[in-house]
């Protein structure tokens, strides 16, 4: 049983116009087995939250805490966070030329578990996981994300979630740019991994569509760098009907 606790998190980023505060006090707690959906308009800071938890060097934490089972996540390097059990499926996965998917997956698995996986089992695990995600076995020999379509990149992210078995997975708009078939396949991958490992999931999305396949226990509406409203799955339905307009900062102040 694990808990990821985010308390009053403040994050800034350097822009050409100077330092800009993007997260303005985010508080969230996610336990193993729970699925939390974060929904919010473009530019509200969802990716910033995801990157800050993962430790991207572009973002500066100016206040608040992030802990995983009481351990100070913010004091850890990026790779230490991953080894502690955090996983981020990125909105825009990065191409790594010359590094094959199979080499990458094996290196990552070895790093995360602290020992090289047993070859026979590993080859089978990779093959099965790729099969479930309807990925052509030829992907194993391709370079990481290089020349992948948008959908292929997202499947590859979920493939990693299935194989690396994190305690907490943050999925940043994994649903964006997927057609219905791909969305279903990717969602099944998330559910499978969750069921097998009991991971907690923080599902960041702009749309409610994926929530039909990956059922959230909690929904947090994210506006202007903080959580504006929280509730159960019914909140997502309201958002679907009403949109984000009523959360717009101008309306809130009015």
């Amino acid at each position: 049983m694990s808990t990821l606790e985010i308390k009053d998190l403040h994050v800034t980023v350097e822009t050409e116009q100077g330092t800009k505060e993007i997260l303005r006090g985010v508080t969230l707690s996610i336990a193993s087995g729970e699925t939390h959906a974060i929904m919010g308009p473009n530019g509200s800071g969802k990716s910033t939250l995801a990157y800050s938890i993962a430790g991207h060097p572009k973002y500066t934490v100016t206040g608040g805490t992030v802990t995983l089972d009481g351990e100070d996540v913010l004091a850890m390097s990026v790779d230490e966070r991953a080894r502690a059990g955090l996983f981020l499926a990125m909105q825009y996965p990065v191409e790594v030329p010359g590094v094959t998917v199979s080499n990458f997956l094996r290196t990552a698995k070895t790093a995360v578990t602290g020992e090289a996986p047993k070859l026979r089992h590993w080859v089978k695990d990779v093959k099965d996981a790729m099969g479930h995600l309807r990925m052509d076995p030829a992907f194993a020999d391709r370079n990481v994300n290089e020349g992948f379509s948008g959908g292929e990149k997202k499947r590859h992210e979920i493939l990693q979630m299935e194989l690396l078995e994190p305690k907490m997975a943050i999925l940043d708009e994994t649903d964006s740019g997927l057609d219905v078939d791909a969305l279903r396949i990717v969602s099944e991958g998330v559910n499978r991994a969750k069921e097998r490992t009991g991971a907690g999931v923080l599902l960041i999305t702009h749309y409610t569509r994926i929530l039909r396949y990956v059922k959230p226990d909690f929904v947090h509406v994210f506006v202007d760098g903080r959580v504006a409203e929280e509730g159960g799955p019914e909140l997502a339905e309201r958002l679907e009907a009403e949109g984000y307009d009523r959360f717009h900062p101008v309306n809130v102040e009015a």
Partner: protein
């Protein structure tokens, strides 16, 4: 914080098909001569010397023999012979003339040419291996010719190590229909200087691969010139270099397409680590009016691993006929991509290992093309050692 704005590699790639591009001075007009006196001592502002630290190379331009030599160790597969030619005998082979003062001096004052002969139709199971080691800084004029007979298949690996000032002329004469791979490995100590002119003469229907692996030396500058004696010839020029602080590694290629229906393909990749690391790549390709059906492509990429390192990359294509198959070039120099590093680290891979993966990945394609396993393994091991050393 340099991580704020990760720079994507700047890409400059284009392809020409039948277009005509002629720069100010045609590459064909460069002086070529066996007479040292035909080349003035360079001062460093000449087009072909403008990147090179000529002030560190004075000894190379003296018009006199030195009598010094490198230590030789060779391993010759059965059938391969090593003998010595006089310079006049060498010139009688119809070899290309030197193209700068250092090469002219090396050719004139070497005192004799080491000739490696691979007989016609021989199929060598093992590479010819030549290891040249320097023990003191005296200027050495080195003069080597590799002659491969018709339809023979041969791989030749020449390694350079130790301390030396080495001025070299290397001629590769590839007979009709032969398949030749020549690998030259520069792993000199930091104090060494090496200027080389490599002439590759590709016979009719021959395939020649010239591979430069430059990992060590204070100044290394290799000029590789390719010409074709008849149609159907194919040249592949591959290069891998890794420059540390204080090193100047320069590779210049000139492919002279005069015969029709020949092919050339050049791929050089380099990494730079350390504040004063410096590399230069110049790729000149000339497609003369007679060279219809030419197919050529050249590519250079540089990966800058630390601030202050500088890579120059100058591709140059001159096309005098519209009747070609294809001609293109690409050149790009990029900083180490912090986003790649973040992605790998976010999967638990520690930073040093992630860096190794990215650099290995950068070189993977060109290294695989080398096709000589002992060279590939050694070179990747050296690069990993360099990375672990952090450029000090």
């Amino acid at each position: 914080m340099s991580l704020l704005t990760p720079q994507r590699p700047s890409e400059g790639a284009h392809t020409h098909s039948g277009a005509t591009m002629v720069p100010d001075a045609s590459r064909a007009e460069r002086t070529a001569s066996f007479e040292v006196a035909d080349f003035p001592v360079p001062h460093g502002r000449e087009e072909e010397w403008r990147f090179t630290p000529v002030d560190r190379l004075g000894a190379f331009f003296r018009d006199e023999p030195t009598g010094a030599c490198l230590q030789w160790e060779e391993s010759l597969p059965e059938g391969v012979t090593l003998s010595t030619l006089s310079v006049p005998q060498w010139r009688d082979l119809g070899v290309p003339a030197p193209q700068d003062r250092a090469a002219a001096a090396a050719a004139a004052h070497s005192g004799g040419v080491a000739l490696v002969d691979v007989p016609a139709e021989a199929e060598l199971a093992e590479p010819v291996r030549i290891r040249l080691t320097g023990t003191e800084q005296d200027l050495v004029h080195g003069h080597l010719t590799v002659r491969v007979g018709r339809f023979a298949r041969a791989t030749v690996v020449i390694e350079h190590a130790g301390v030396a000032d080495y001025s070299e002329v290397l001629t590769v004469l590839a007979g009709d229909g032969s398949h030749v791979t020549l690998v030259t490995v520069q792993e000199w100590d930091d104090a060494s200087h090496h200027l080389g002119q490599h002439d590759v003469v590709v016979g009719r229907d021959a395939t020649v691969r010239h591979i430069a692996v430059t990992l060590g030396g204070g100044v290394v500058r290799l000029n590789t010139n390719t010409s074709y004696t008849g149609p159907g010839g194919s040249f592949e020029g591959l290069g891998v270099y890794f420059a540390d602080a204080g090193q100047h590694l320069e590779h210049r290629l000139f492919v002279d397409h005069e015969a029709p229906h020949c092919r050339s393909n050049v791929e050089y990749k380099g990494a730079l680590q350390g504040e004063t690391a410096r590399t230069v790549w110049v790729g000149d390709v000339l497609i003369r009016a007679s060279a219809e059906g030419t197919d050529t492509y050249e590519l250079n990429r540089n990966l800058i691993l630390s601030d202050g390192a500088r890579a120059d990359s100058v591709p140059n294509l001159e096309i005098e006929t519209g009747e070609i198959e294809g001609a293109g070039h690409a050149s790009a120099t990029g900083r180490f991509d912090d986003e790649q590093l973040f992605y790998l680290q976010a999967r638990g891979i520690p930073e040093d290992e992630a860096r190794r993966l990215v650099v290995r990945g950068f070189f993977a394609g060109v290294v695989a093309r080398i096709g000589v396993p002992e060279v590939q393994e050694h070179l990747m091991a050296v690069i990993e050692r360099e990375l672990a050393g952090g450029g000090e």
